[in-house]
């Protein structure tokens, strides 16, 4: 055993992807397919006084125009996190009210995409316009309501006065802000809805939650789930914005029923800047107090974020605070304001990411104030337990991440003064920050089939949004069955398959691979074989076509004994050409503790992807809104900046620790999100070391370095 797990294995789906063989949602070719184009609001607050669709309807090729006056029939879903969920509680075209710029106000269906787009341009809308609120700095913040049952305020210890100066040597109080970041995966939001006989529908749509999507669309169209099929074999990046139906998806599926034709709707890049999710602007204030040895006596963390008028989403920044550093006094508070913007949502490490930017920046500031090495400061304050759950962490190797990273990076050579390292005319800075993300898993099933041709099939309605799920599932099966990875066929992303759970919260691998392990063991038991070869021999003898077994895996009592998190540390080097405000990241080392590493190649790739996305947040990502109309003033991937190759140095990734067998039988914790946490702080900490300038407001565009 253990021949494959942990090795570097190429992606099972890699060839299909690079050759174009992989078919994404809107690429499915269906006879008679027609095209929908979204009409979106050009004001951010008010209502539609008149909407004239006559001209559009008379345009050649137009099949139908839907507006709030004739919305396609839709049923209100339960809309909770457990059974069904839509991103935006307001159903599309439900009335004439406008809540944000870019809100969908119509759908034009035509025989070609170009004709639908052209007709959409012909629709005349007169608005009643009201003043908009799109400025996060001037918004009216209120205490945020709980999203997942945990109170958004928390106090431990003594915070009566909030004054710790009498007993402590050092205090840090600082406010950190992050800008609106829009979801911009390579594959845009796009789907095809294909109805048969008015009572069943197939939806080809990228979704991070196949079964959830099935249940949700079933509720929306008033059918039992088995009459709704979701096909989502490939996802061109999800990052949190492809887990639930958005208004355009609901509109596509319901309109397709009315027009009795298969319908495709593709959201344009311009439209995606407004109506398919973003990470809210955040403003966080951190107060730290510590004695001269650096032992923390108090942490206060207040976070403000914004939501849309039509749903509630709080960027939960303070969730990381009780897991990072031990302190007797802790106060957490989340506030939320409503702006005339599209609904914000999960974006890679929602909450953890901006939260770690603030906390890890503040820890760096404290380290400078106390003249203690920032690694040492973190080691002195590590907590062995989750301070809110009061449970010990399982298989925690945070300290090893710090020390291993420091060694690989050469941290001991660091000059302990800002502006002390130079390379020619460039200032050189070294920075580090911690990383963390909770380890989650959910209840899932997998089916394994051994066939007489000597292959094994693994089937489950999970999915692979570019993370490497196909490959780690195949590796798990290969290891358990004693077969080469090439002989395993994995089928994902189809709601006809057993429940594969949600690819979100970094839980797909941790949820699915234990189920795959159990299903493989079960199929061998069924065959009464030690390994697949024996089973194949029995198949040949008996003339049977296949052995099959389904198994499930779910979290159990372990959550009452332990808290589960993954851990990491980032180290980076920046150079700053101060005169011309040119910042470059020149070196990066990340060390992660994620339990068992199944595929060293795709796991490292996940971490790298997180680091790159974090560098984008640190240096360039920001979606500005026009102050009058509330409309984003970025409109495509050339104007909404995220990193190009030239922005990214070599990223060295390594892993420490042992399998976390208290967490699940595979010992694996997810790694999709942890890579991005702490990245921005590592960069701003390095910029401080290089220049003596503390950047507390992301992104670090050149104007902030002047």
């Amino acid at each position: 055993m253990n021949q494959v797990i942990g090795k570097s294995v190429n992606r099972k789906d890699g060839r299909a992807k690079v050759t174009g063989e992989a078919t994404y949602g809107a690429e499915h070719q269906i006879q008679g397919l027609v095209h929908g184009y979204l009409v979106t609001a050009t004001i951010a607050k008010g209502s539609i006084r008149t909407i004239d669709t006559q001209k559009a309807e008379a345009t050649p090729g137009v099949i139908a125009v839907f507006t709030h006056k004739n919305p396609p029939k839709v049923f209100k879903p339960t809309n909770n996190w457990m059974t069904s969920k839509i991103y935006e509680a307001r159903l599309p075209l439900s009335d004439n009210t406008i809540h944000y710029a870019g809100q969908i106000v119509g759908l034009v269906v035509a025989d070609t995409f170009e004709r639908a787009r052209d007709a959409a341009q012909q629709i005349q809308i007169e608005y009643e316009t009201q003043p908009v609120e799109v400025n996060a700095q001037q918004a009216n913040y209120q205490k945020a309501k709980s999203m997942f049952g945990e109170d958004m305020e928390y106090v431990a210890g003594e915070f009566e006065t909030g004054d710790f100066s009498a007993v402590d040597t050092a205090t840090v109080e600082a406010t950190y802000t992050t800008e609106v970041e829009i979801h911009a995966p390579m594959e845009p939001h796009a789907l095809v809805a294909h109805w048969e006989n008015n009572d069943s529908v197939t939806i080809y749509e990228p979704t991070q939650w196949v079964k959830g999507s099935q249940r949700t669309y079933a509720e929306l169209v008033g059918l039992p789930p088995e009459r709704v099929r979701i096909v989502s074999p490939y996802i061109g990046g999800g990052f949190g914005c492809k887990a639930f139906p958005w208004p355009h998806g609901i509109l596509c599926v319901t309109a397709a029923k009315e027009i009795k034709r298969p319908l495709k709707v593709v959201v344009s890049r311009r439209q995606m800047t407004a109506n398919t999710g973003h990470r809210s602007h955040t403003e966080q204030t951190i107060r730290l107090a510590a004695n001269k040895e650096g032992k923390l006596s108090a942490i206060e963390h207040t976070a403000k974020s914004c939501t849309s008028p039509v749903d509630v989403f709080t960027e939960p920044c303070t969730g990381i605070t009780p897991v990072m550093y031990t302190t007797p006094n802790m106060k957490l508070k989340q506030e939320l304001a409503v702006l005339n913007v599209g609904t914000p949502t999960f974006m890679r490490a929602p909450g953890e990411n901006p939260g770690m930017f603030a906390l890890e920046s503040a820890m760096d500031e404290l380290a400078w104030e106390l003249n203690i090495d920032p690694i040492e400061l973190r080691l002195r304050n590590e907590t062995k337990e989750h301070q809110r759950k009061k449970l010990p962490f399982s298989a925690k190797h945070f300290a090893e991440c710090l020390t291993t990273g420091a060694e690989k990076f050469g941290w001991s050579d660091r000059q302990m003064q800002p502006r002390s390292q130079q390379q020619g005319d460039l200032l050189v800075g070294w920075g580090m920050a911690s990383a963390t993300f909770p380890a989650l898993r959910s209840s899932v099933e997998a089916k394994v089939r051994l066939l007489d041709d000597g292959t094994a099939h693994v089937l489950t309605a999970g999915n692979d949004m570019g993370t490497g799920a196909y490959t780690v599932i195949a590796m798990t099966a290969a290891e358990t069955l004693g077969l080469p990875v090439e002989n395993i066929r994995v089928e994902l992303g189809d709601s006809m398959l057993p429940n594969g759970g949600l690819a979100g919260g970094s839980q797909m691998t941790a949820s699915l691979t234990p189920a795959v392990l159990a299903a493989c063991q079960s199929v061998l038991e069924t065959a009464q074989a030690q390994n697949a070869q024996e089973a194949f021999a029995k198949l040949r003898e008996s003339g049977r076509a296949a052995y099959e077994a389904t198994a499930s895996s779910a979290p159990g009592e372990e959550g009452k004994k332990f808290a589960f998190n993954s851990w990491g540390a980032h180290f980076c080097e920046v150079t700053v050409d101060e005169e011309i405000a040119r910042l470059r990241i020149t070196r990066w080392v990340s060390v992660m503790n994620i339990g068992r590493v199944l595929n060293s190649k795709t796991a490292a790739s996940q971490i790298r992807g997180g680091v790159i996305m974090g560098i984008g947040q640190a240096l360039m990502e920001e979606c500005h809104l026009d102050p009058t109309t509330g409309y984003p003033v970025v409109y495509d991937l050339a104007t909404y900046h995220f990193p190009a190759h030239a922005d990214i140095p070599r990223i060295e990734v390594s892993f420490v620790g042992e399998p976390d067998l208290d967490f699940n039988p595979m010992g694996v914790r997810g790694c999709g999100e942890i890579g991005i946490t702490g990245v921005a702080a590592a960069v701003t900490n390095a910029v401080y070391h290089a220049t003596g300038k503390r950047i507390r407001s992301l992104p670090i565009t050149p104007d902030k370095l002047l």
Binding site: A101, M620, T628, V633, A644, A646, D647, P702, D703, L706
Partner: protein
């Protein structure tokens, strides 16, 4: 989107004649900017006259020692041409600083001169825009204007010209050769693009129907001192916040000729003539470069969000001139 006809011009005369008789016609070559604009309804031509197959793809030395670049030479071919690299290194670097390899492979020299602003208000018909439609207003003046102009703008338009190539051409004193029904004429590059004034819908001084046929680079004895410095929000594939093209001719310890052109700051590539004149006869030193930078930006009128461009431009000029004074190269 209005339907349009598509025709392949079979000669320059044919192209010019079609575009002169039909004022709604547009030329298309690489299409890297125009096709994008068509898709979002910024342009609604009656016909597209495809000039991409015409014979304007040569780079040749003229008998006056100039280098004549055919209008259909791709950006990639221009940047990589041995004579351009040897004799106009700042042009090669400016072109390579723009767009992406794939876009440069398609984009032509003539098209690069004709590309329009990426002002987000211009780019979405949801906003009014004087450049798209006269007298509808300019939301950029009161909106988000971090990337907008600080020099030569007007109340009606604060957009910037996005081209890197044009900034280098301005510094080189290049000349644009155009052909219309009246025949050929030459327009100095620095007069080719316009300031917005009350007519921001016009980016250039081309007459209706005129086609760019070539760009002429005069000999430049001190071209080795050329520098193109582009400062932007990411390391590649981003338009300039500020860019600077410089070259210096130094005789003895005195500057004999100076060239300073700016990009990302105005509706056209911006030659800082007064700064150049100031430098003539002065020593090539830091304090003179600082003063030249001050002079270049003395008329700057920043908007609410782009004040940083004034300081960034000054610093970019100082740096570029300092590198030019040391013989040119990467800044």
């Amino acid at each position: 989107m209005k339907n349009f006809t598509y025709v392949r011009a079979n000669s320059i005369e044919d192209a010019v004649s079609r575009a002169t008789s039909d004022r709604q016609a547009m030329f298309i070559a690489g299409g890297t900017n125009l096709v994008d604009r068509l898709k979002v309804f910024l342009d609604e031509p009656s016909q597209l006259v495809d000039v991409s197959r015409l014979e304007m793809k040569q780079i040749e030395r003229t008998n006056t020692g100039s280098l004549k670049i055919g209008a259909l030479v791709t950006n990639t071919a221009l940047a990589n041409h041995i004579e351009v690299r040897r004799n106009y290194p700042l042009l090669s670097r400016a072109v390579l600083a723009g767009a992406s390899q794939q876009i440069r492979n398609m984009a032509t020299v003539g098209g690069n001169l004709m590309q329009r602003t990426r002002c987000p208000y211009y780019y979405d018909t949801a906003f009014p825009c004087n450049k798209r439609q006269q007298n509808t207003g300019c939301p950029a003046t009161t909106g988000m204007n971090r990337t907008h102009a600080i020099l030569g703008a007007s109340e009606s338009c604060v957009a910037t010209n996005p081209s890197d190539m044009s900034v280098a051409l301005a510094a080189i004193d290049a000349v644009v050769e155009v052909e219309g029904v009246q025949g050929k004429r030459e327009i100095p590059l620095i007069d080719f693009h316009r300031l917005p004034g009350n007519n921001p819908e016009r980016d250039t001084n081309l007459e209706p129907g005129e086609l760019i046929t070539a760009v002429i680079l005069p000999p430049l004895s001190f071209s080795q001192s050329g520098v193109y410095l582009k400062l932007r929000d990411r390391a590649s594939y981003a338009f300039a916040l500020v860019s600077v093209a410089t070259a210096l001719e130094v005789a003895g310890d005195k500057i004999k000729t100076a060239r300073v052109a700016l990009g990302g700051v105005a509706h056209k590539p911006w030659r800082a003539m007064e700064a150049e004149e100031f430098l003539i006869g002065k020593a090539a030193n830091k304090s003179n470069f600082e003063q030249a930078a001050e002079i270049a930006l003395q008329d700057a009128q920043p908007l609410a969000h782009n004040g940083f461009k004034v300081e960034l431009s000054k610093r970019a000029i100082r740096r570029a001139l300092a590198v030019s004074a040391q013989g040119g190269g990467l800044a």
